[in-house]
């Protein structure tokens, strides 16, 4: 016989479960975003709102359910973020009003509280848009009011079922959802909160998402290579546009029966499915997906062969980015080459955006990088003066708290990273990193693409040129001559460490030869060589 009512402490436990389940499924909710920018990521916003709500009651021993609900509402209000967060806080406010004066919650009070939640939420907007979280709150309240049970657990079960059904119906009410082939993200977030509560009561896990869907941009299929299981040595990747009535959950279950390493990505009405299967099953996923929609692209690869190639090849270690947790600061750095990416990663960077002199990343590239970080405190290192603008634009359109440390060169970015501390206050850290930028001198060696005269230096097309802190400084016939002249101009004798990052145009042997030459010329200084991997620039040199 289940309990006939919940008290304040039971409610607290349910709120915590709702929060945990929403956190687990945060990326699923984020992936449902159809509106490109205005309000950031629904999942993240709702999660931050719920976190604040729970923080308010985390240390509370309140047994009175009405007062507990009031505290939750207060916390949600203070932490409300974005449209979906504000609506969620209003739902809590109405819910708390419905419970006002009730010491415990029985089935009837629960139904009444959800009706109040709906009424309060609808009052907060002049033109309610149907097919959103508002509609879901309305359908929940309706289902609760017609339910006849007097068991609050049974009532919650009815409510969760109603929420699920309502969310699935949102595309019928809001055309933009139907076009994108998704359900409403805010409604789905609310569903996860409620479902988390029910899972807690049923003793089910709150850690593992049932299905994980990520934005297409976030799919990193290269990394999936590492966990090839014996026998599952064929990789199948299928892009497709699902027909109406596509059911993610049963899709996932079917895939699980075929193979391992399942990843599903979603974006703009299109899905990408990735799976590892045994040889004899390699056409099965394709045949299965064919029933579900229109296939746009198929790729099948033999993983074992791929692995051999990888091992026989460069043997390059894989990139290990620093993991970041909610509340910590994450650094997003722009890197023009694999070697530099690895160096940034080793210094604590959590996300990398590819880009450099001739390949400026877009604002969207930054936003995608933000998307995949579980924290809302972010520092960007643009590492190029032409990219600072895009970084600042990205800062303007996200709800996350973003600071741009205006590093104009790679060495400046590296210097800034040395002052990074993920646990400290984000504004202070950004300030410290910005101040570190001028502590370093940057040299760049490249080939002139045209004849020109700037800053008193005459350059012929095809000559090797050296730039000092972004300004043309020297021109020479060979790379080593340019390096020597550049270091002289930079008064390298007065510094201690010279680091050379060699680009993709230069062989390691050649880079080492030049480094030895420089070391002879500057015996007092330490000369280091690192693989940079950047295109166009033979060397990026940091002098400190």
């Amino acid at each position: 016989m289940p309990k006939a009512s919940f008290d304040g402490l039971a409610l607290k436990e349910l709120v915590e479960a709702g929060l945990a389940w929403l956190r687990t499924n945060q990326q699923t909710v984020n992936a449902l975003n159809v509106f490109p920018v205005p309000d950031g990521d629904t999942g993240t916003n709702m999660l931050l709102t719920m976190q604040s709500a729970y923080a308010e009651i985390a240390n509370s021993g309140q047994r009175n359910a009405g007062q507990m609900a009031a505290a939750v509402a207060q916390g949600a209000l203070m932490g409300a973020r974005g449209n979906s967060g504000v609506i969620l806080s209003q739902l809590w406010r109405g819910f708390a009003r419905g419970l006002h004066g009730h010491e415990t919650i029985d089935a009837a009070t629960l139904a009444h509280a959800f009706a109040e939640a709906r009424d309060t939420a609808y009052k907060g907007v002049v033109r309610p848009v149907e097919g959103t979280i508002l509609t879901v709150s309305k359908d929940i309240a309706a289902a609760a009011q017609t339910a006849t049970t007097d068991d609050p657990v049974e009532m919650l079960r009815i409510i969760v079922a109603a929420a699920d059904k309502s969310v699935e119906n949102t595309p019928e009410l809001l055309p933009i959802l139907k076009q994108a082939g998704v359900v409403d993200s805010g409604g789905k977030g609310l569903f996860f909160i409620l479902e988390g509560m029910l899972r807690q009561i049923d003793g089910q896990s709150l850690d593992a998402p049932l299905i994980s869907v990520q934005p297409l941009s976030a799919m990193n299929l290269e990394n999936a290579l590492e966990d090839v299981e014996a026998g599952q040595d064929w990789e199948v990747v299928v892009d497709f546009r699902p027909k109406n009535g596509f059911e993610l959950r049963s899709f996932y279950e079917q895939l699980e029966s075929m193979g391992t390493s399942i990843q599903v990505g979603e974006g703009e009405g299109m899905y990408r499915m990735h799976i590892h299967v045994p040889l004899e099953n390699r056409y099965k996923p394709i045949e299965y997906v064919m029933e579900l929609g229109t296939i746009t692209k198929v790729a099948i690869e033999n993983l074992l062969a791929q692995m051999d190639e990888l091992q026989a090849g460069t043997g390059a270690p894989t990139l290990e980015l620093t993991n970041v947790e909610a509340g910590q600061i994450a650094v997003v750095a722009v890197s023009p080459g694999t070697g530099l990416s690895r160096i940034f990663a080793s210094l604590g960077v959590s996300a990398l955006v590819a880009g450099g002199q001739t390949m400026n990343p877009s604002t969207k590239d930054f936003l995608d990088a933000f998307d995949n970080l579980p924290t809302d405190k972010i520092i960007i290192l643009p590492n190029n003066k032409n990219i600072i603008l895009a970084a600042n634009q990205a800062k303007g359109v996200t709800v996350k708290q973003v600071y741009v440390v205006p590093s104009k060169t790679i060495p400046q970015g590296l210097a800034a990273m040395l002052h990074f501390d993920p646990e400290s206050d984000v504004e202070k850290v950004a300030g410290k990193m910005s101040r570190a930028l001028d502590s370093i001198i940057t040299g760049e060696i490249t080939v002139a693409t045209r004849s020109v005269e700037i800053d008193g230096v005459t350059v012929r097309e095809g000559q090797v040129i050296g730039l000092l802190n972004g300004k043309l400084a020297v021109a020479a016939e060979t790379v080593e001559a340019a390096c020597l002249q550049l270091l002289e101009k930079a008064e390298a004798v007065t510094y201690e460490l010279i680091t050379l990052f060699y680009g993709s145009d230069l062989s390691p042997a050649e880079a080492n030869r030049i480094a030895d030459l420089l070391q002879k010329k500057y015996p007092e200084q330490e000369v280091e060589v690192q693989e940079g991997g950047q295109p166009h620039y033979q060397f990026i040199i940091s002098i400190e």
């Binding site: 920018v37 205005p38 409300a80 974005g82 504000v86 209003q90 009052k123 907060g124 907007v125």
Partner: protein, 118 residues
């Protein structure tokens, strides 16, 4: 304002058009229960207007587009979040529809409406 010259002639976008977009974008933002006319004489209660251009002030100096919006917010919502949403939505909608970069959106919360005193 908002002139663009093409080989076939020029395009003018009036401030009223921009104001109208901002008005509709605002009313769809959660937490906003209405717009309140600006320049209210002191002492007169804040009233909600239904006219698109009242409560919105568009300023274009040939280079920068600034929008001021005067809103009434539902009591009990987090005002900073609502204002932030309004600002984001207006900027997004205006830039998408008109194609002009918005320099500033200033959100003025003129009043709160209390539907349910707690």
């Amino acid at each position: 304002m908002g002139q663009e010259k093409t080989t076939l002639g020029s395009i003018h976008i009036s401030p009223t058009a921009v104001a109208s977009i901002a008005y509709h974008a605002t009313l769809q933002s959660y937490g906003v229960v209405g717009l309140a006319p600006k320049n209210l004489a002191e002492g007169i209660a804040v009233t909600i207007t239904r006219e698109p251009t009242r409560g919105v002030n568009v300023h274009f100096d040939g280079d920068q587009l600034d929008i001021d919006i005067y809103i009434v917010v539902e009591f009990g919502t987090r005002i900073a979040s609502v204002a932030q949403s309004v600002s984001n939505t207006i900027r997004y909608q205006v830039e998408k529809i008109i194609g002009l970069k918005v320099h500033q959106v200033n959100v003025h919360v003129q009043g709160l409406r209390v539907s349910n005193p707690d």
